[in-house]
Symmetry: C2
Subunit: 152 residues, 2 copies
DNA sequence: TGCGATTAGATCGCGCACGATCTATATTCA
DNA sequence: TGAATATAGATCGTGCGCGATCTAATCGCA
């Protein structure tokens, strides 16, 4: 059975698809974030990496990848850009030379303060109360779980 | 106020963010779609354009852009690829030479039959009943409306 | 101990996605 | 009518995002 229902007997359009709602809302989030993150000199994926490191410093590339569901082929160049920007350092773990450890620089840590209002601005832009936002987030996260199980 | 709530007094992580739920679920959808669309020779954005044209043939680049919320800088190369693949034709409208009209070829039209089960497979992968999927889609679409208003 | 298998990142090619800018056509209205 | 303006796409540069592949380090186990 289809994931969404067309309004009438006509052919389904993109607007009927749940996947398109997700897809286009992701872009919409990006457009709201852009001017805010431009102030910080970050792109949205870079911002996510910084949030992950602000939550817990000194993680490996693999750990960040697990949290953000991204491959090393995506992360490596992104992390090099963050390193060039001076927000973090990348260095091989002496205990296991295969791993690369990511550590915030002072500049990277202090950026957190400047990023304070970003979350607030985004929260406002959603037009949702905190409770509704949490509820929606949980439903979408559950959906993601199903999809990831389906994709093996 | 923040759009999401951290579980405790610790620093918020990416998993707490509504935007990240959307972002990562979009990727998860893509991973489920990939093997199905590979059969058709389409990428996911290309598939969306085809869905839009199956719903209504002979649209302009601008109309497709309005429906998918994409810029011409994204669509022009994508549409050229669909043209090269033989699924549609691009031609200037004689009534208004600024516009480019997109028309399905026979190959493009008949692809619709082959794409029939894709929707069903995706529906299953969501783990949602039709009703729940529609409800969630509507909530996310509403969220997109708020975000787009905020991004002016 | 040493060799095959596994793991962690890095590299490469391709296709989005967008902002900035350019060209060509169409519209407006002085 | 003709010059200023507006509109529709196209082009270009940058940064994801991923599959496929590569390299180097570690592990497993005979």
């Amino acid at each position: 059975m289809p994931s969404t229902a067309p309004k009438a007997a006509s052919r389904p359009d993109v607007a009927d698809l749940l996947c398109f709602a997700i897809y286009s809302t992701g872009h919409a989030f990006n457009r709201v974030y852009k001017p805010l993150l431009d102030e910080l000199g970050l792109t949205y994926p870079q911002y996510l990496v910084m949030v992950a490191l602000w939550a817990e410093d000194d993680q490996t590339v693999g750990q960040i990848g697990d949290r953000l569901f991204l491959e090393s082929s995506t992360l490596t160049p992104l992390l090099k850009r963050l390193e060039t920007l001076g927000f973090l350092t990348r260095s091989r773990d002496p205990e296991d030379e295969r791993q690369v450890r990511l550590r915030l620089t002072d500049k990277g840590s202090s950026l957190r303060k400047k990023a304070r209002d970003v979350g607030a601005c985004i929260g406002e832009a959603t037009g949702l109360q905190m409770e509704a936002a949490v509820k929606l987030r949980n439903e979408i996260t559950k959906l993601r779980g199903h999809l990831m199980k389906a994709a093996k």
